[in-house]
Amino acid sequence: MLWTIFNNVTTKLVARGIKTGFSFLEDVAPFSIPLNFSPFWDFELGTSVYWDVFVIGIQNTAIVSALGIPTALLLGILIGILRLSPNWLMRALSSVYIEVFRNTPLLLQLLMWTFAVFPPLFNQLPIASESIVIGSGIVLNNAGIYLPLLVFSNTSWILFGAFSIGTIVLIYRIKHWARKRQFNTGQTFPMFTVSLLIIFVALVVFYFVARSSFMIDLPVKRGLNYSGGMRPPFQLIILWLGLTVYTAAFIAENVRGGIVSVNAGQSEAGMSLGISRMMRLRLIILPQALRVIIPPTISQFLNLIKNSSLAVAIGYPDLTNIWAGIALNQTGQSVIIIAMTIAVYEILSLSIAALTNWYNAKTQITER
């Protein structure tokens, strides 16, 4: 049977004049990227090849995932905690949020944002000459949103790397020292506040040291409209928002389930030891709850990455859209293009699965 399938595939490919092999990756891609959105990898119609399309697809999938994961996590934690708050109204609102967004398809939500929610809001935005300007860098008008862009030179990248490593090492050393001191003397140390302070100081120092090596590209008014700066396409913002709102509902359920799973006796034991509410949460409940919360939350991150392929429906140029969609239609190289697409998602999901397994193994309760 396998042989019949193989035979059919090759006959058909030959009949359509399609050569198998990776050589088409070097061919010039005869189409432009939708929205022209490719912030880190240049695409030029007429010179860029299919390989560039592939890289841009991965890049755009990575951009929306990297934006969506932290926001979904924060919103999910917030909603999950509100779901357990003593306030009845907040509890009701957050369960409505969770049930509504979990029980309707993400695609429907994305279409809803794109066609029903945003167009009326968008119509209210002023024309370019009456743009809303926030601070000196954020401009909002009916042509889109303009944000300031940091342009790093090579020296500033190196400096930035050095500063990051230095800060991490410093915080790690202080933490080590504080633990040792607490172990020996019992005195505690405000590690969280101090870490924030160190990061803040490091950023300020970095700004003054590296000031000359990077520049801030602000949107400026040129002619009728603004140019310069960064202009994220509307589709990216909708996809980001849609993925965040949808995934947060699932993460909120994980957070709630994790906190509920910690035996009430643990909290009561903490109370009877005279530990304050915040410290109880931090030292007793959270460490136990996180063991339950983190693995399913990591798999939600993976779902978010996979769901970003719904970009196809709203026209954001992600991997599935421009590679498994446009490039495939243009070249007819179905076997190789699909294999490459699957390989990317597969590498991502296997590495995330490995991460989860590692975490599970590390945090397993060691029985007596």
Binding site: N8, V9, K12, L93, V100, M112, F115, L328, I338, T341
Partner: protein
Amino acid sequence: MNSFLRSKTWRWMYRNLFSSTLNTSLTFIAVIFLAYYIPALLQWGIFDATISGDDASVCRQINENGDLVDGPGACWTFIKVRMPQFLFGLWYTSNSDEIWRPVLAFLLLAGLFGFLGSGRVDHRLRWKIAIASLIGYPLIAFALLHGSWLGLPVATTSDWGGLTLTLVLSVIGIIVALPIGIVLALARNSTLPVFKTIAVIWIELFRGTPLITILFIASVLLPLFFAEGVDLDKVLRAMVAITIFQSAYTAEAIRGGLAAIPKGQFEAAEALGLGYWRKMIFIVLPQSLKISIPAIVNSFIELYKDTSLVLIIGLLDLLNTVSISARSPEWKGYDAEGFIFAAAVYFIFCYGMSRYSQKLEQRFDTNLAGRRAQQE
């Protein structure tokens, strides 16, 4: 005032709304949020809304410049007029005498779910009917919807649309994926390396890839697999893609159930001299399937939502029918109404199913000794 402070209402309000500074401020935030949105929403959705009439003119009005514009409220007339199309697709809308066929198929499904979930059914009978309907229901539903077997006017698969198509895709997906998933789960737990490898590759491959990519594969790659002249219609390709995708998730749900069976059960079966298949079919699977039912229902809910992705390959499911209708010249601009309707339909089904799975979980709890101990 004093009597109010001592009343039950105030005590409830104090405990739930004003017990601390943080709590009180949260209450105020929530109240401001609700006061801002709820009246506007009610105004749009109910007070200013239109539901009478049967064309778009009732929803539009003439403004001061003499232009025809949308009215201030929601246009539920759109939903009312297009309802048959949303639920049964175009073919059944134009052949309205035949609408009883999908309706009967829906009712049968609802009846089956109700019967299997009710408490008054004998345990063994329930299992028999569950297994019989797994095979029988798709055949009956196909006979009803397609019609050629019963000598009724034929509605080909491409004539199915709206909620009917959504349900067909998801029900076929879950039913066909179930046996494949069981085999995959057993293979993944088997000691034979060939089966194990194939199962691991299959499961990880289709779990790690987005459904859209698999739908693309099915619509592009699947025709290549067959000899020239064999034409697979679009609905069938989508069904294959959805089934393959779902089989990987079902397999993982069942594997979770297998892992929960104590080793003693396997050993006891072996001690009785049962071979592999008898051990699995009579001892292990009945116990593990019961455990994995909630997980299977959850993956079914996910699948039900995911069938909306067939919009991208151009099938006219519920979501696509709604979004195309809201783009038709007559009803242009009523996207919000359409999407709210579609969301409500999806919500009712998904929420209902998750409640149903919670109920099943209790029902299938055959820990008789534990229950008796509780009763005494």
